[in-house]
Symmetry: C2
C-alpha cells in the first residue's frame, strides 16, 4: 500500500492516484462513479437535444472544469453557468468558451474583473436586476474594450433576486440595448424555490406560474421592439416543465449529474423517486469507520468539514442495516444495531446537498470497476468572490 | 481602487492585501478583528497560567499556523491539538513543536504518516480507544525509528469515541506502556456534548460527572502503577470546571479565540452571554449587499458556501435593524423592513459555528483600525484525511 502514497509522503495531499485500487483511497474524500456520471450526462444531453433545448450545465454545483468538459463533450452542453466572477475566471482559464454568471455583479472590483474576461476568449453573460447596474457594466466593458452580454433576471416566484414586473424588466432591457459595450441577450428565469418540492404536481403548479410571468415579460419586451435570444432557467426538479413551456429555450441543470440525498427524494410524474431511475447517484463521500467503542454504534471520519448538512444528513449508500445519525466537526455517528461494522470498513455516503458539499473538497476521485481512473481538482473550490 | 487588486488581476485570488483600507476588502471573506483576537488569546493565557493549567489551543477550529503561533507567543499555549493527521502535518511543517491528534487514527496509511512526524522535530501525541490500535501504532513508530506518545481516550459522557470503564482504559494504557516505540502519556477526557448547553449549572452538572469518570480512571491507572503525565480536555464552555477539578492539568479550548453565534449565546455563572464580556467576537464573514429588488428585503453575497449553518444562521454584528433570515448556496436573504441597506453596503456576519465555517475559506484578513494588517492562509483548510 505504501507505493501509491509517494504523493502524500511529499505532503502533496491527494486522496488517491489514478490506477490505484478503490480499496486504497484515503478517506474522507469525494468519489465519482464514472459510469453513473457519464450516464446522467448523456441522458440529460439526449433530453435537451430531443426537446430542442440548449443545455447550459450549472457549474456552481461541481465547480470542476473537468466535469464541465464532460458535460460539453458527452452531453452536448453549450457552455456553463456559475454564480461568481471568481468561478467564471476559473472556467475561462480552463478553456470554457460560453459562460453565464447567473447572478448579479455589483462590486466595482468584481465588475472590472468580469469585464476583462471576454478578452480571454470567452463569451461572457451576466444577470441584471437593477437599472443602476447597467451603466456600471457598460463603463467597465468600454474600459476593457470588451462586450458583455446581459440577461434581465426576473423573479419567478422564489422571492430573492430579480425584478417583479414586465415593465421593470423591459426598462432594464432597453437600457442594456442602448448602452455601449453591452448586448441585451435575454431573460434569466430560474425558479429555485420549487425545485425540491416532493410532489410533481406541486412543482408543476409553481412552474406554471413562472411560465406565465416569463411569457408576460417576453410579450412586453416584444412590444418594445426587443427580442430575447435566450430564455434561460430550469433545474433538476423542473427541466421538463421549462422544456414544454414553449417559451424557454435554455436549461441550467446542475444536480442531475451527481444527485444527492435531498434531491433524490423528490418524485417524478409517476410517483417514483428521481434517484431510482431518472438519475443515478454518481457522487459519494467515501468514509471509514475509525472508532467503535460503544455497542450498537460506530463512528466514521466524515463530519461537518466534508459535507454540508443544510438539507439533512447523508444516507449510507446500499446499506439498510446501518444509519448515519449525527454529524459533528470531524465525526459521523452511525447507528449499527447489530455491530456489523468493522474498524477501517469503508462506506459510501450520499451527501444531503451536493453543491456546498463539493465546495468543501479539493479533489474528485473518479472510479470505475474498482479502480481509480481519474483524480480531478475541484477547480473553483472556495471561489466565492 | 484598482491598484491593490493587482494580485487579483493575475488570478491570484486573495480578498485583500496588507495595507489596504478595510472598505476595499473583497467579499465574501473571513475577517479577524485583531484587537479582539489578541485580547481573547491573552485572556485565556492569563487564565490558564493563574490556574496552573497548561493550555493546548485547539487548531481544528482555526486551522491556521499563524493563529496558533499567536496563541503560543501571546497566550502561552504549550502546543496545538487537532483532529486529523493531515492537520498535524500542516502544523508540524509550520513549526509547531507539540502536537496532539485528539482523535483516533486507524487507517494504515494514516498511521504510517503519523509515525513519520516526530522525525520532523515535533512531539506527537495521539489518542487510543481500542487495544488493537496499540500494536498498529507501535509497529509504525518502530518502522520509522520514532516515538509516539499516546493518550487513552475516555468517554466523558458525549457517547462518541473513548472507552467507558476504568479497567478498559487501564488495559490500553498498560499495553501502550509495554509497547516498543510508544509512551503512555495520559488521558484524553474531552466532554464535547455539554459545551453548548445554555445554562452554566447544566454544563457544570455534566462536567462534574465527567470529573468523576476521570478520577476513577486515574485511580485505576495508579493502582496499576501507571502515572498519567497529561489529563487533557476542556472547551470554551467548560474550561473553568476542568481547571477547578483537581485532576485535569491541560485545557484544549478553541472557539474562545474567535467566538461564534452559537457559543456566544451560552451563559456564564452570572447569567451573562459569554460573548458579552468573557469573550469578544473576533471572527466575521464580511459580506456585501448585491441585490435589493424587493421592498423590505436585501440579498447579500454570503450563503452556504462561505459558512456552515449546522448550528444556526449567522447574526449581523452591530445591527438591530436588519436580520439574516435565510441562506441558499451563494445568497443570504436579509430582512430589511425599513429598506435601509444599499447596494454594496458591507455587513459583518457572526457565523453560527466557527470551526466548519473557517474550513470553507482560504484566507483570514486581519484588520485593525480600519486597515488590513495581515492576510493569513487557513493553512489546514480542507485537511480532512
Amino acid at each position: 500500500m505504501n507505493a501509491p502514497f509517494d504523493g502524500l509522503e511529499l505532503g502533496y495531499d491527494v486522496p488517491a492516484l489514478p490506477g490505484m485500487d478503490e480499496a486504497d483511497i484515503q478517506t474522507p474524500c469525494l468519489i465519482l462513479d464514472l459510469d453513473a456520471l457519464e450516464r446522467n450526462i448523456r441522458k440529460m444531453g439526449d433530453y435537451a437535444r430531443t426537446h430542442g433545448m440548449r443545455h447550459r450545465s450549472h457549474g456552481k454545483m461541481h465547480k470542476s472544469v473537468d466535469v464541465q468538459k464532460l458535460q460539453e463533450h458527452l452531453g452536448g452542453a453549450v457552455g456553463v453557468c456559475c454564480q461568481k466572477v471568481s468561478e467564471a475566471e476559473v472556467f475561462a482559464r480552463g478553456g470554457i468558451r460560453d459562460i453565464l454568471v447567473s447572478n448579479e455583479v455589483r462590486d466595482p472590483a468584481k465588475i472590472d474583473r468580469l469585464a476583462r474576461l471576454p478578452s480571454w476568449g470567452a463569451r461572457i453573460i451576466v444577470c441584471v436586476d437593477d437599472l443602476a447596474n447597467v451603466s456600471e457594466l457598460s463603463a467597465a466593458a468600454q474600459k476593457h474594450g470588451t462586450t458583455l452580454e446581459c440577461l434581465v433576471e426576473i423573479d419567478c416566484g422564489q422571492g430573492r433576486c430579480g425584478v417583479d414586473t414586465p415593465s421593470a424588466a423591459t426598462a432594464i432591457a432597453q437600457a442594456i440595448a442602448a448602452a455601449p459595450a453591452l448586448i441585451f441577450t435575454g431573460i434569466q428565469a430560474y425558479q429555485g424555490g420549487m425545485q425540491h418540492l416532493e410532489n410533481y404536481v406541486d412543482r408543476k403548479a409553481q412552474l406554471d406560474e413562472a411560465v406565465v410571468r416569463v411569457k408576460a415579460v417576453v410579450e412586453d419586451l416584444r412590444a418594445a421592439g426587443l427580442k430575447p435570444e435566450l430564455i434561460s432557467g430550469g433545474g433538476t426538479g423542473s427541466y421538463y416543465f421549462e422544456s414544454g413551456s414553449g417559451v424557454y429555450n435554455e436549461l441550467q441543470c446542475g444536480s442531475y449529474a451527481f444527485m444527492d440525498a435531498d434531491y433524490g427524494r423528490i418524485l417524478d410524474r409517476h410517483g417514483h423517486r428521481i434517484d431510482q431511475g431518472e438519475w443515478k447517484n454518481a457522487l459519494f463521500i467515501l468514509t471509514s469507520v475509525m472508532s467503535r467503542a460503544k455497542p450498537g454504534q460506530a463512528v466514521c471520519d466524515a463530519g461537518l468539514k466534508v459535507q454540508s448538512v443544510d438539507s439533512g444528513l447523508p444516507v449510507i449508500h446500499g446499506r439498510d442495516d446501518v444509519k448515519y445519525v449525527s454529524a459533528s466537526d470531524e465525526h459521523g455517528v452511525i447507528e449499527d444495531m447489530h455491530d456489523v461494522l468493522r474498524i477501517n470498513e469503508k462506506l459510501k455516503l450520499i451527501p444531503g446537498h451536493c453543491d456546498p458539499t463539493c465546495n468543501l473538497h479539493d479533489w474528485y476521485v473518479g472510479v470505475r470497476n474498482g479502480r481509480v481512473e481519474v483524480v480531478w481538482p475541484v477547480s473553483a473550490r472556495g471561489k466565492a468572490y
